[in-house]
């Protein structure tokens, strides 16, 4: 589907006003975008009549480790009517990672973003209900960060692992 890919790239170019960086060796194909445009771009892709990315399959957080000092959020979009997948990648600094929430576009984002917040400590601004979801509410630290060290005790119970 080369013409769909063209269209995706032209929309991204229009919104971001920048050169497009594709994600190397990514299946399905994906694009690295700036974090400022995520909401406006998602809104455009969701409402575009030729693409219509109506489903957000997955939001993944990735921690690149202390040396690189970056974290990533990947959005796996899928368009049911046009059978087209797309990955959007946002790169964030490891200190105070913040990105705009896309719950306004897709309702799925609510729990998926909560999970990313729970595991990586990435703050999604304007999220309606950003609480921990899998870990207990008073858990210290973000478990999927590469430098995570768990606490010795949780409420007086030794974490014996």
């Amino acid at each position: 589907m080369p013409e769909k890919k063209e269209r995706i790239l032209s929309i991204i170019k229009e919104v971001s006003q920048e050169e497009i960086k594709e994600i190397p060796n990514s299946t399905p194909f994906g694009v690295i975008i700036k974090k400022e445009i995520i909401l406006s771009l998602c809104d455009r892709l969701h409402h575009d009549s030729k693409l219509y990315f109506d489903m957000l399959s997955c939001i993944t957080g990735v921690d690149n480790g202390v040396e690189l000092g970056t974290m990533e959020v990947l959005y796996h979009l899928y368009s049911i009517p046009f059978n087209q997948s797309l990955v959007l990648k946002v790169i964030l600094p490891r200190e105070n990672p913040e990105v705009e929430s896309v719950t306004r576009v897709w309702k799925t984002a609510n729990w998926l973003e909560r999970e990313v917040y729970d595991m990586f400590g990435i703050i999604f601004t304007n999220h309606p209900d950003l609480r921990r979801i899998l870990m207990p509410a008073d858990w210290k630290g973000y478990p999927l960060r590469k430098d995570y060290k768990h606490e010795e005790y949780y409420r007086g119970v030794k974490i014996d692992y």
């Binding site: 299946t27 990735v62 897709w106 799925t108 899998l134 999927l144 007086g156």
Partner: protein
């Protein structure tokens, strides 16, 4: 036994998972009702914080995470082939399907998808469809149990036992198989397996009909489920709902057909959708009905696989299901998202390999039950508490997969 189980401090006794609603902020008629985590109708360790006004549900907040076993953290320190048992334990009533999706993802990363022998693929699809039937049986039977129909539960457990015994014969385990390996299978099917499968199908078809008669077409069941928990299609898509729930809302969307992975393009099967026969499209009855129809379709797929396995891709002495199982799994540096149709919806895996290690840099599971459960507050505002149980049962969650 440890000397001291825990250190007592008064602070340690506060709620670890506090309610979202505060009692002091409630209106005069409202009450917080706590359902679970130890309640049979929540299908596991799920806690529902229900804000109720008399018998009407004003809002419901699911609290999950009681069965969190750190799958993604474990996966970051294990070689690819050793993750398969962990994948089994996610959706533990449909482990074969999860294994199939996982193995497919790693094979795509290694680029060996085309080399997998056809016989291996057919066996994979055969066992996956058997497990899909088992999972749907659990879904329908326990749903009946939720609504007060006791007999169907015993019937489905009896019939599911046949499937579990067959799978145990093939793999050695009843529920958590570790049977589908990356690049192949643990073993070939045992001699005589195909014959026994055919006997099972012959036995099982009338039993599904019986199940349909006693439960799905039952007047009491229809009264409890029709027009309850209606999920409109646009909301379903926007909320990322997949699997039988999405199909019950009226969209003919099945990843087995859309993506056409494995040997599914060569097989013939229908995709049942909700038609609103008893009420509106996308109500609880439709969801159950779609699951029962899918059992028939899975039986059809099983028969076609058996035909292939007995004719074109017969068992031979030379056939080795582990022939192309890689000894060392080190994919090139890449990112890959793979998805497959599980009994409960789209199971996705995201992998990042860095090309230098035998372990994934990041392995994320997009669990279908997790996303499907997130719709619960939306569709259960304003219903009766008894209907809340009916809606929750019709979502068909497995807490092992919700919490991972």
């Amino acid at each position: 036994m440890k000397d001291q189980q825990y250190i007592y401090k008064p602070d340690n006794l506060i709620d670890s998972e506090p309610n979202k609603f505060k009692v002091s902020e409630l209106k005069s008629e409202e009450m917080i009702l706590n359902l679970g985590p130890q309640h049979p109708s929540t299908h596991g360790v799920l806690r529902l914080e229900v804000l109720s006004d008399g018998e009407i549900v004003n809002d419901v907040i699911p609290h999950i995470g009681y069965l969190h076993r750190c799958f993604e953290k474990h996966a970051e320190s294990l070689p690819f082939n050793q993750i398969i048992p962990f994948v089994d334990r996610m959706d533990y009533v449909a482990a074969m399907n999860s294994e199939h999706a996982y193995a497919m993802g790693v094979e795509r990363m290694l680029g060996i998808t085309d080399q997998i022998p056809k016989r291996v693929e057919y066996i994979r699809v055969l066992v996956a469809e058997m497990n899909r039937i088992a999972s749907h049986l659990i879904a329908v039977g326990t749903y009946g149990l939720d609504l007060g129909a006791f007999t169907p539960f015993f019937w489905i457990m009896r019939d599911r036992e046949h499937i579990l015994r067959l799978l145990e014969w093939a793999s050695g385990a009843r529920m958590l198989y570790n049977y589908i390996w990356i690049g192949g299978l643990f073993y070939d099917l045992p001699v005589g397996f195909e014959q026994r499968c055919r006997e099972f199908i012959k036995y099982f078809r009338p039993k599904v009909k019986e199940l349909e008669t006693i439960l799905v077409d039952n007047k009491i069941f229809i009264d409890r489920t029709a027009n309850v928990g209606v999920l409109p299609l646009d909301l379903a898509i926007n909320s990322g709902i997949t699997g039988p729930m999405l199909r019950a809302s009226g969209l003919r969307f099945d990843l087995r057909r859309v993506d056409g992975y494995s040997v599914y393009p060569e097989l013939e099967f229908e995709i049942p959708i909700g038609e609103g026969k008893m009420g509106q499209v996308g109500d609880c009855w439709d969801r159950t009905h779609v699951r029962v129809r899918e059992i028939y379709e899975s039986l059809k797929i099983m028969e076609q696989c058996l035909n292939q396995l007995e004719r074109d891709h017969k068992r031979t002495r030379e056939f080795d299901p582990q022939a192309i199982v890689p000894k060392k799994i080190r994919p090139k540096a890449q990112e890959l998202y793979v998805r497959a149709e599980n009994p409960k919806g789209e199971l996705g895996f995201f992998f990042r390999a860095d090309g230098r290690n035998d372990i994934p840099f990041r392995c994320k599971a997009r669990a279908c039950s997790f996303v499907n459960l997130s719709i619960l507050p939306e569709i259960s505002r304003g219903v009766l508490i008894a209907d809340l149980i009916a809606i929750l049962g019709s979502i068909d969650i497995v807490l092992g997969e919700v919490d991972r």
